[in-house]
Structures are given as C-alpha cells and as structure tokens.
C-alpha cells in the first residue's frame, strides 16, 4: 500500500495569502489544487513537500469571465469548464481538450491550473519508489541517468498536458502572483527546456489567471492521440488555430505536445502556411514539416517511431478540419 508521506497542511483563503505562505515556507512548500497529479506523485515519493498549501478555500481563483477575452481562474475545476455551455460554443477546441482529460470523476477534482502545471511524465519516472530503486532511479528524481537516452545530459520526461497546446495556439497569457509582485507572460514562456525544469514559474509564484484573447474570426481544433478513450494522457497532441482571409491563411498557430519535454510551436510550418490556400498538397507539405519538430522518445505508451508518424497524420487532420 502506498501511503502519503507526512506534511504540514495549510489552506489559505485567497491568492495573496497563498503567496505569503509560499514566501514564508520557502522551496519545500508546494501548492495543491485538485491533488490528482501531486498526490499520486507524493505516494510514489517523487515529491515530498514539507508543507502543502491547498487552494481548496481559494475561491477568488475560481470562475470564468467572458467579455471579448475569456479569463479563467486557475482554481476552476475541469468539470466546471466542461459544463460551461458558453465556453463550449466560444472556444470549442479548449473545451475538447478539457473534456479529453482523464475521466469524468477525475475532472470533478482536477483544475485547469493543475493541468497547465502538470508534472512531466516518463515511463522511467511514473513508478513507485521500489520500482525506481530497481533501476537505480533516474535523473528527474533521486538518480543521475536518463534511462530513455542514457547519454543525454537533460531529462526527456514529456509534457502531457491537453490544455497547454490549445492555450499556446490561442495566444493565452498566464498571470503569476508572488510577494514580489504580479507578472503576466505568454503561455509558451511558462515552459522550460527540459523535463526537470519544465516550468519557468518560480516556486513562490501562484498561477492565478489564464486569459485567452478574443479569437476574432479564427477557428481552432485540438486532436489527441491515446490508446484508450478515457484515462490516458496524450502520446501525441496537435492544436491548430487558423485565421483565414478569403481562402488564404492570414494567420496560423500550430502547436504539438506530448512529443518532448516542452510544447513545440511549429514556427517554420506556420511561416510556410501564411498566405497559402489550404489545398491537400499544402496540408500534406505542412504535415511533413511539422513532424520534424516532434522528437518523441520511447518513454510513453506506443512506439516513438509510430508517434512521430502519427503527428503528421494528426496535423493533416487538424488543418483539414479548419479548411
């Protein structure tokens, strides 16, 4: 039986109090919202925070505001977003991503902030302590070697968030609050280069708000590849946002996820697509280009070769749906 390690438990009332506690407690404190990512990790001894700062009473970070832009409180549950009919109409790609996360029961608990900050995943990492001791641990936790790429100096654990690629494609901004002040960053700036330092959010910062700008005439789509229809994290994910001018692409954002430690913005594919008509030939070429940015390794479900192939198929399907 896997029990939680011991910890001190604090449940502040608002974001400011949360930031104060995080400053006071130092780097050994961790925020917990839904607990669906952190508690399994604590049971497997990936993280053992001395202090847990729970957002369960932090109601000022719940709710969705819809004006031109859509602003989502980080502590809003995934189920709350799923049940939001206006969100489904206005941002169907984000709704699809939310609705594809794990299972209905888990979505009753998990929050969008938690999905944005989701710990990176790897077959050699997401195992209990005894299993990991059996391979002498890995560099992400307690060890020194990356078992999926033993000569690598960096960790290849995978960013497996469903909402992140969509938020990046939609040009979302994240607001982070600490006792040092408040800063707002572009969604992509939130993510670091390797599987260990996968977030640029500092330990004393709280993710408070996610703001998605007015999408204007742009349409978006999210496609997720996984083995089962529920439970599974993506093994490849594609988010695309296209703004057309007549039948030509005026602006496009194409983001891949679950194929490396950091979400991939397909910049050369975006450049290639601008000003073009989305003919089958152009889509085919874009799909090939985009797949070059995906560098999956064999540390998730399914073979990495197949995941790389399926990225181009899914990019084709995504752009095809937006044509």
């Amino acid at each position: 039986m896997m029990r939680l390690p011991s910890f001190r438990y604090l449940a502040p009332k608002d974001a400011a109090e949360t930031a104060k506690i995080l400053t006071g407690e130092g780097p050994d404190a961790m925020i917990v919202a839904g607990g669906t990512d952190l508690y399994p990790n604590m049971k497997r001894r990936h993280q053992m925070p001395k202090t847990l700062v729970s957002l369960r009473n932090v109601n000022d970070l719940r709710g969705v505001e819809m004006n031109g832009a859509v602003t989502i409180g980080s502590n809003e549950t995934l189920r709350g977003l799923e049940r939001n009919a206006e969100l489904k109409t206005r941002l169907p790609a984000l709704w699809t991503a939310v609705q594809s996360i794990s299972t209905p029961i888990l979505r009753n608990m998990g929050t969008i902030g938690g999905n944005v900050c989701l710990d990176t995943r790897c077959n050699y990492y997401n195992q209990n302590w005894e299993w990991r001791r059996g391979i002498d641990f890995c560099m992400k936790c307690d060890g020194t070697v990356c078992w999926v790429a033993p000569s690598s100096s960096v960790c290849w654990a995978v960013n497996s968030s469903d909402t992140v690629p969509v938020l990046i494609a939609m040009g979302a901004k994240f607001t982070l609050v600490s006792t040092r002040g408040e800063r707002t960053i572009e969604a992509i700036e939130m993510f670091g280069e390797d599987g260990i330092d996968y977030l640029t959010k500092q330990k004393d910062e709280v993710l408070t708000r996610i703001e998605i700008p007015d999408q204007g005439n742009a349409t978006s789509v999210y496609r997720k590849v996984r083995r089962r229809g529920a439970f599974d994290f993506p093994v490849a994910a594609v988010a695309a946002r296209v703004e057309m001018d007549g039948d030509e692409v005026k602006d496009v954002n194409l983001v891949l996820n679950a194929v490396g430690p950091k979400p991939v913005v397909c910049e050369s594919t975006q450049e290639f697509l601008k000003g073009k008509k989305l003919t089958p030939e152009v889509v085919e070429e874009a799909a090939k280009l985009a797949a070059r940015g995906a560098k999956p390794l064999d540390n998730t479900d399914h073979l990495s070769m197949w995941r790389k192939k399926v990225v181009s198929v899914e990019v084709k399907r995504a752009l095809g749906a937006l044509r």
């Binding site: 029990r3 390690p5 438990y9 607990g35 508690y39 001894r45 209905p104 029961i105 307690d142 439970f231």
Partner: protein
C-alpha cells in the same frame, strides 16, 4: 532532488503520530474521527471509521473503485485528504440503502448480474447514482462517458449499463406514481 535514497532504505514513512480530530459528515451522520493527517479519505473511511464498502484499488486515480460522493459529485477518495473532507456531505456505498431497503440500482445490479467479483461495484453504484440525479433518462452514450472513470474487468460493462437503465426506468415509474398519489 528528494531525500529518499538512503541505501537500501524504504521511502520515509510518515513520522507524525499526532492525530487530527475532525467531524466528518458521512452518510447523513456526523462522525467524530481521529486520524493521522497524511491519511487519504479512503484510508480514513476504511481504517478509522470501519466503512470498508469503499474499495481500495490503484491508489493513483486510475481505476475509480474508491469513488465516493462528495456533495453529490463522484470523487476519488484515494486522492482526497481526510483533512480536506470536512464540511462536505460524504456518501459511501453503505449509505445508499434507505429505510425501505436497497437502492433501486443495488437491486438491478444484483438482478442483472452487473456485479461479478464485485470489487468495482461500490464505485459504479455511486457514480451511477450521481448520473441519475442529473439525468433521469440517460442515453447509453451518456452512461458510457460518465462511467468511463470506473474500471470493471469482469462484466464487459454491458450488464452494468443495462442495470443502470433498468433502475432509471423503475425510478421514473415510481416517481410518476408517487406524483400521481400525492394529488389524490
């Protein structure tokens, strides 16, 4: 990164023996409970309250067998702290039967063989109960989606869906006859 690599040693066990005292509202009754603060609601229910109807499966949110209702919503008791469960109405499978006997779902699960080994059954019953609160006549599609967080390795799910549909039908019939009765 973490201080877990003492040669040959197991991961550090919880050290604090001090217990938290709390009132938890379970199945409509307030219970005063003392438990160690790192315990999950699943552990508190089973070990400190002797409510062993809630089953202990994967412990990681991947199977749904520990599902309980918290303010009517299905949640995974293996991923909620006991500490986080105060001020919430908790319902476990032990609370499903009313003064007139078993819940209609419990009867139809038994009648249609929707329980085989039975280990996943408490989770299914509670999730199904929450679904029927929201939707008195759920489509098969709704059931498949809403129950996709509960795993069953025996039945193949078909009997479970059929049992929920039969219970829903009986509950609707009873509801309309009750309504009819109250007008007399």
């Amino acid at each position: 990164m973490n201080p877990t690599t003492e040669a040959g040693g197991p991961p550090p066990p919880p050290t604090s023996l001090a217990k938290t005292h709390m009132v938890l509202r379970v199945n409509g009754e307030d219970h005063e409970v003392a438990f160690r603060p790192h315990k999950t609601l699943l552990e508190v229910l089973r070990e400190d309250m002797d409510l062993t109807g809630t089953k202990h499966g994967c412990e990681l949110g991947e199977c749904g067998t520990c599902t309980v209702l918290m303010d009517g919503e299905p949640k995974l008791s293996c991923l909620v702290l006991g500490l986080e469960s105060d001020g919430v109405d908790i319902e476990t499978v032990e609370g499903m039967a009313g003064p007139e006997g078993g819940h209609p779902l419990q009867h139809t699960f038994a009648e249609l063989g929707a329980a085989q080994c039975g280990y996943c059954t408490p989770g299914f019953l509670l999730t199904a109960k929450a679904v029927l609160e929201d939707d008195k006549d759920p489509s098969r599609e709704t059931l498949v989606e809403e129950l996709s967080g509960n795993l069953c390795r025996c039945t193949g799910y078909l009997k479970i869906y059929e049992a929920i549909e039969l219970a829903a039908q009986r509950m609707r019939e009873k509801g309309s006859s009750d309504e009819g009765g109250s007008h007399v």
